[in-house]
Amino acid sequence: MRIFVNGDQREVEAATLAVALDALGYGGKKIATAVNGRFVPAPTRQNVTLNDGDKVEVVAPMQGG
């Protein structure tokens, strides 16, 4: 299935966001996630099933003013 991760098209098998994130190399990283513009808390990721065309945002800490 095709999804968008941070704007890039990616092919994933994953049924859930949690699995997809592992597959994408986010395992154990300090990140936060949103799907289609809606926040998905870490504990909930395993319950969120992805659908074709979903927009996934994965963000990490950065400098800010």
């Binding site: 300090k30 990140i31 936060a32 949103a34 926040f39 990490a60 800490p61 400098q63 003013g65």
Partner: protein
């Protein structure tokens, strides 16, 4: 009369941004020099292979300071609210510096989106630090929405212009004698920060003026001192300006040496 930021009493009245420094080392030294107890941070996309965010995260954790995440670059209530939620989870804090921007040239707050986002977030348990203007009517609504701190701009972000509307900032202070007020953005030199405190403001939030100075570490220290100086002066009841002069050296008892 130290002010209470959502139950937290800060000794330092300088909140420092972490962006645009020449190097992490200089950032770390500038933070130390500033004596800031609060640093602002943000979020950005990261791929599975990148490590930048992780590195920055350990860096911040290492500081042992309180972090104030921002919603920089958000133009809609939805973006700001989602970003705030991601920030709360990532940085494990209820504090959020709420930015909802209308215009990319002035980076000025969209006061409508700001008030709505503030309401949504406050109801959701966030402790909101809204980046706003000096507008009293907006300020009233932010307070109604649950904000217990306001952060009016001095001038557009990164402009180094100082206080564009001293009159408006004075009126805001007079309107909210007891609310923590922070001048956020637009300052360029320590005298701008001292002047903000002399108006009775409770703190100053800085980033570019320190980060992009020739010597960010010295500049961080300079701002810290000026802020403390301005605050101390405010409490020490300065002289009112007068139009005419008054001799500092008394005139009585002067020798008569003319012919």
């Amino acid at each position: 009369m130290a002010r209470d930021f959502y139950g937290v009493e800060l000794k330092s009245r300088l909140l420092l941004g972490t962006s645009r420094y020449p190097s992490p080392k200089i950032l770390a030294e500038a933070i130390t020099a500033s004596g800031a107890e609060v640093v602002t941070v943000s979020l950005r996309r990261e791929s599975g292979s990148e490590r930048g965010g992780q590195t920055f995260w350990s860096f911040i954790r290492g500081l042992g300071l309180r972090v104030l995440p921002n919603t920089a670059g958000c133009h809609t209530v939805k973006e700001a609210v989602t970003t705030a939620h991601m920030a709360r989870e990532l940085f494990d804090t209820k504090w959020i510096k709420l930015e909802v921007i209308r215009d990319d040239e002035t980076l000025q707050p969209d006061v409508f989106g700001l008030v709505e986002a503030a309401r949504v977030l406050a109801e959701d348990g966030f402790e909101v630090f809204p980046y706003t203007t000096e507008d009293l009517a907006v300020a009233d609504r932010l307070v109604e929405a649950g904000c217990k701190v306001l952060m009016p701009w001095g001038a557009p972000i990164g402009s180094a212009r100082g206080l564009n509307n001293v009159y408006g900032l004075k009126a805001l202070r007079a309107h909210f004698p007891d609310l923590p007020l922070v001048v956020d953005a637009g300052l360029g030199v320590p005298s701008h920060a001292a002047a903000s405190m002399e108006l009775g403001y409770d703190a100053v939030l800085l980033n570019t003026a320190v980060a992009e100075a020739g010597d960010p570490v010295a500049m961080a220290k300079a701002f810290a001192m000026a802020i403390e100086a301005g605050r101390m002066a405010f409490a020490a009841q300065p002289l009112e300006p007068r139009d005419m002069a008054q001799p500092s050296t008394p005139m009585i008892g002067r020798a008569a040496l003319g012919d």
